[in-house]
């Protein structure tokens, strides 16, 4: 298996999807078992990958390259580094969990699973693509199934933001449509999501093509481009080309992240999507944005990244606070989680913006952690929805009597989402804080307040769902009793807590991916240029205090062995 691990991970779901085409919907069990076994293969391979990835060696491993078009310089070039590995793992975990979460889908089961598998496989494909073309290819491929998943198996969203009259379609022909959240049908969501993401994907594509064209290397291969492409100092449109490319790539991909104010597709999309899709969507699909920015912008345009990344640092504040506030106000469970996701993605941007070893590692771990946390929450919101057929928080309540298991898991999910110690989120959070403080103290404070806000709205939602008086209408609701129902939650919880308590390997893996990157980005700079005047106000006692870890005088050689053996 070994070196082909990536292929197993990537193509097992595709193969599953292919196999499903030939199965009839009359045999749902067969459908599910095919889907789950495909996902299981992928999951196993991902775990193998994760643990077989050698952080000491670092770099891209398990590389496979297949020529696709010689003329255009396109090849199916797969490989993972320390950043991709955990995300691949997260994707396959969420896929596996998602298949069990959607175990009870009765309508067109086969098709659902086909699209779900394709969605996940495409996402995984992005995480392991080392070729810009295929990166983009998988990126788009992961967006398109969302349309079908939302449009066919989604649910209409009601009562979001005091929306009015969801059924009155006449509104669509009037100006009222503009302010009409009544257009919150699943079709609206699906259309909005796909159009929005595709539009911005095209923006990113433009960036990619500019890279392709102006690098003059006739290749889409990231590894080649990052070594040889020289895009600096080409004047264009009153500025330099690299900046234009960077901005195109950044905003093109950041829209899926989603960075404020490009987030509006996301909550509505989450809300309309079926649970498993929401999980994958919020869990890993949004990370495509960060990941692609890291892969494309960070790798190929390091200097420009250093120059322009403060944009993200500014926007992330808005993401955090704004998303938190809206989540606080929303009355729909999935909107709450959706906005919380878009708020939390701000932390990832913060970690990325600070551009140092710790914070960027924190950002990557946060992506992984958030995948688990938000996956749990969406799974449970989905369960509640399946039982009560409403997501309107005010009309729910007291469900903890009916579903103790779910409510207990929900607590864990909330805690994970808040970054309660003991979950891997906490590790990520503290790394982001530690890393970013010197460069962006204000943002860190804002992020901290964001945590408080997160707790406020998640607890508010938890109280709304599970405590207080129960509506007798929902007395038939029942808990997740069977293994199939509990399995996904337990997997995600155990992963979240397991890595929260033993994050060493995860950390090593991520560090091995982040270190060369940060070194690339930061080392080209003379020390004087960054960090001066920020952070420490240290005085004569220890003059070196004024420098920050960000601007370390020399790269700190990353040697996991040392830290692993430690002292004593």
């Amino acid at each position: 298996m070994g070196e082909y691990a990536l292929l197993y991970i990537l193509f097992a779901p595709f193969a599953g999807a292919l196999a499903l085409i030939f199965v009839s919907n009359r045999q749902p069990l067969l459908v599910r078992s095919i889907a789950s076994s495909a996902a299981f293969v992928s999951l196993l391979a991902s775990f193998y990958l994760f643990y077989a990835y050698d952080p000491v060696k670092g770099g891209f491993q398990f590389v496979k390259k297949y020529e696709w078009s010689k003329q255009l310089g396109i090849s199916l070039h797969l490989g993972v580094d320390g950043i991709g590995t955990p995300l691949v793992l997260a994707s396959s975990i969420l896929l596996f969990a998602g298949i069990f979460v959607s175990w009870h889908i009765k309508d067109r089961t086969k098709e659902f699973y086909i699209w779900l598998l394709i969605l996940a496989a495409a996402t995984i494909g992005v995480f392991m693509s080392l070729d810009l073309f295929f990166l983009y290819f998988f990126y788009e491929m992961s967006v398109i199934p969302m349309y079908l998943l939302l449009g066919m198996w989604g649910s209409h969203t009601k009562k979001y933001l005091e929306m009015t009259d969801p059924e009155d379609l006449k509104l669509r022909d009037s100006v009222g449509f503009i302010l009409n959240f009544g257009s919150n049908s699943k079709e609206y969501a699906a259309m909005k999501l796909v159009l929005f993401l595709s539009a911005f994907a095209v923006v990113a594509l433009m960036g990619i093509l500019l890279i392709y064209k102006y690098s003059g290397l006739n290749t889409f291969d990231i590894l080649v481009l990052r070594e040889q492409a020289n895009l600096m100092n080409i004047p264009a449109l009153g500025t330099t080309l690299d900046r234009i490319i960077w901005v195109l790539v950044f905003f093109g991909f950041a829209s899926i992240a989603p960075i404020w104010p490009l987030h509006s597709w996301s909550p509505v999309g989450h809300a309309a999507a079926p649970a498993a899709t929401s999980m994958l969507h919020a869990g890993v699909l949004m990370k495509l944005g960060h990941f692609s920015i890291i892969r494309v912008a960070f790798e190929i345009l390091p200097e420009t990244t250093r120059e322009l990344m403060p944009i993200a640092a500014v926007l992330c504040m808005f993401s955090i606070i704004y998303g938190g506030f809206v989540a606080f106000y929303a009355k729909d469970t999935k909107y709450v989680i959706g906005y919380s996701s878009s708020s939390h993605m701000g932390y990832v941007f913060l970690g990325m913006a600070a551009l140092n070893y710790i914070s960027l590692s924190g950002a990557v771990i946060y992506m992984f952690a958030h995948a688990m946390a938000t996956g749990m929450l969406f799974a449970m919101a989905g369960w509640v929805y399946d039982q009560t057929h409403t997501r309107d928080i005010p009309s729910l309540g007291g469900l903890s009597n009916k579903m103790p298991f779910i409510s207990a898991c929900f607590v864990v999910g909330c805690m994970a989402s808040i970054g309660m110690p003991g979950t891997v989120n906490f590790i990520a959070e503290i790394m982001i804080i530690v890393g970013s403080w010197n460069k962006y103290p204000l943002q860190v404070i804002v992020a901290m307040l964001g945590i408080v806000l997160t707790l406020a709205y998640l607890f508010k939602m938890m109280r709304g769902l599970f405590y207080g008086p129960m509506n007798q209408k929902y007395s038939h609701a029942h808990d997740a009793i069977s293994t199939v129902d509990r399995l996904p939650l337990l997997i995600m919880i155990s992963i979240s807590i397991g890595f929260g308590i033993f994050p060493m390997h995860l950390y090593d893996v991520v560090r091995s991916g982040v270190d060369p990157l940060v070194a690339r980005i930061m080392l080209v700079v003379p020390v004087a240029e960054t960090g001066e005047g920020l952070g420490m106000t240290g005085k004569a006692t220890t003059p070196d205090m004024s420098s920050t870890p960000v601007t370390a005088h020399k790269p700190i050689p990353y040697t996991p062995q040392v830290s692993r053996e430690g002292r004593e």
Partner: protein, 519 residues
């Protein structure tokens, strides 16, 4: 023999995780009585272990004892580092002790979901224990935050008030708000360590370990920033004066057991003593900090006492009296001299018996009249002489009558404060007067005088279980009051080390580990 057997035995880990493991065991027990018995057994075993630790603890020593240190996240310098010294070891015993009492108290006062309640309680015990025995700041923070979860549910699910949801959320939010700032402070400490370590090429370039951090000098300006960040964390939890409004709500709405833990275990002020002061000695003794914090403390003393004077609800009264006591503790802490620190430490322990004891009393009253409003009582001493007696004993301890534990602590604090600046002590002394006033006022109106008009039926005197609680508290109160020597001996070494740490110049701390390793 016993020592040989127990050498190297991770007793602190056992203490730390026994309750939570016990809670997991409770999960599978269905029968309610069995649940209660098991919970009590677990709590008692925990108490036994804690007492064992206390007995084996070498007094008059500043050293960290029973150290357990396992690298946890080596890359970030986070380790699983448990140890107790004179500052923290008493809290271990206190936590175990109070938990036993709370379990006993909750025996039949908790009427629904007893299993879950006991589980939460035991989980709470683990987290509070964790706060007291962690030497790694992240580990500490872990427990600090985790503590919120059981607390939240205890308040929310078993609280008596109508506003309990609000109170629970308020408590959690408040604490979290503070602790996120603290987290930033912790991060800054780590960054500082990192800079130092990368300059000195140590093999550990990141560390959150208290002992490591203590070796590293911190520029004063940086210390101030970190100090205020951590101050917020601890002050919100403590709660120090202007941050106290969650306390009355949480105590009034939450169940008695939770209230006992909240007021009995002074985690916030412990944090000052454990982390803020030793880590940031220069900031702690800087003029502004001392003035601001002590003035806040003095405000708290008077404010809490005055507020307590006019409260008609006993639990609110206790909440404000707790604020007042916290004022004393803070004043003592930031007097930054031996008596102040020792007094504060002792007072933290004392309140675990006295204020927590009064909450038990409040609980006894509550279980009889379903309220602690003054209006529902009056002349209770006639019907419940035993309760009235214990009420008086514990209450007098809380107002610091000589011969009770309260006096020893308060006396030391006042002495320390007075030594630091005469008017610190001078103002704080007023709190002594008001303390007597509000307690006696409430006692007089609830226990003495003719039978109250609103008293419904005849109230039974203390039940055996309640008597056990009251008696054990009273014994502890009188023990510490009359013969505090064992307790003081336990503290002395560590307090001395702390005083040395604070009084020495920064330069000295550069050279390393007078405080650190020998500690």
């Amino acid at each position: 023999m016993l020592e040989e057997l127990t050498a190297g035995f991770p007793i602190l880990s056992c203490i730390l995780f026994l309750p939570v493991v016990g809670a997991a065991v409770l999960w599978v027990i269905d029968e309610e009585d069995m649940v209660r018995t098991s919970a009590l057994t677990i709590a008692l075993v925990e108490l036994a272990l804690s007492v064992f630790v206390l007995l084996r603890f070498v007094p008059e020593s500043a050293a960290m004892q029973f150290t357990e240190r396992v690298r946890w996240i080596p890359a970030l310098g986070i380790s699983y580092h448990l140890a107790v010294d004179g500052i923290s070891v008493l809290f271990v015993g206190l936590t175990a002790f109070l938990t036993v009492l709370v379990v006993i108290y909750s025996w039949d006062t908790i009427r629904h979901q007893i299993k879950l309640y006991m589980m939460c309680l035991l989980a709470l015990e683990t987290t509070t224990m964790g706060i007291f025995v962690s030497l790694d700041l992240i580990l500490f923070f872990v427990f600090w935050e985790l503590m919120l979860i059981p607390s939240y549910f205890l308040i929310k699910l078993w609280g008596g008030g109508a506003e309990r949801h609000y109170a629970a959320l308020k408590f959690v939010l408040y604490t979290l708000l503070g602790s996120v700032f603290m987290l930033v402070g912790i991060a800054l400490l780590n960054i500082n360590y990192h800079q130092w370590a990368s300059l000195h090429h140590t093999d550990q370039i990141y560390s959150f370990d208290l002992l490591d951090l203590l070796m590293v000098p911190i520029p004063v300006s940086q210390q101030l920033v970190i100090f205020w960040l951590m101050f917020l964390g601890f002050a919100f939890k403590a709660p120090v004066f202007p941050f106290h409004t969650w306390l009355p709500d949480a105590l009034l709405e939450g169940p008695i057991g939770m209230a006992v833990v909240l007021v009995g275990l002074k985690m916030g002020t412990f944090g000052f003593m454990r982390f803020s002061i030793p880590l940031l000695p220069d900031a702690s003794k800087s003029e502004t900090v001392v003035m601001v914090v002590i003035v806040l403390g003095l405000c708290a003393i008077l404010y809490g006492a005055w507020m307590a004077l006019v409260q008609a609800d006993f639990r609110r009264l206790l909440a404000y009296s707790s604020v007042s006591h916290l004022g004393f503790i803070v004043v003592g802490l930031f007097a930054l001299n031996y008596q102040g620190l020792q007094g504060s430490l002792l007072t933290m322990i004392n309140l675990g018996f006295s204020t927590a004891g009064l909450f038990f009393i409040a609980g006894f009253l509550y279980s009889r009249q379903q309220t602690t409003q003054l209006a529902a009582f009056g002349g209770m001493a006639k019907q419940m002489p035993l309760l009235a007696t214990f009420f008086l004993i514990i209450g007098l301890a809380s107002i610091g009558l000589p011969g009770t534990n309260g006096f020893v602590g308060e006396f030391l604090i006042l002495l320390g404060a007075f030594t630091a600046k005469w008017w610190f002590g001078g103002v704080a002394v007023l709190g002594v007067i008001f303390g007597a006033a509000y307690f006696l006022w409430y006692y007089e109106r609830s226990m003495l005088g003719p039978l109250g008009a609103a008293v419904k039926g005849t109230m039974s005197d203390l039940q055996p279980r309640e008597t056990i609680i009251a008696v054990s508290l009273s014994v502890m109160i009188l023990w510490i009051g009359l013969y505090p020597s064992p307790f003081l001996r336990i503290m002395n070494g560590s307090v001395q080390a702390l005083v040395d740490r604070v009084s020495q110049e920064t330069k000295v701390s550069l050279e390393g580990n007078r405080f650190g390793r020998g500690y």
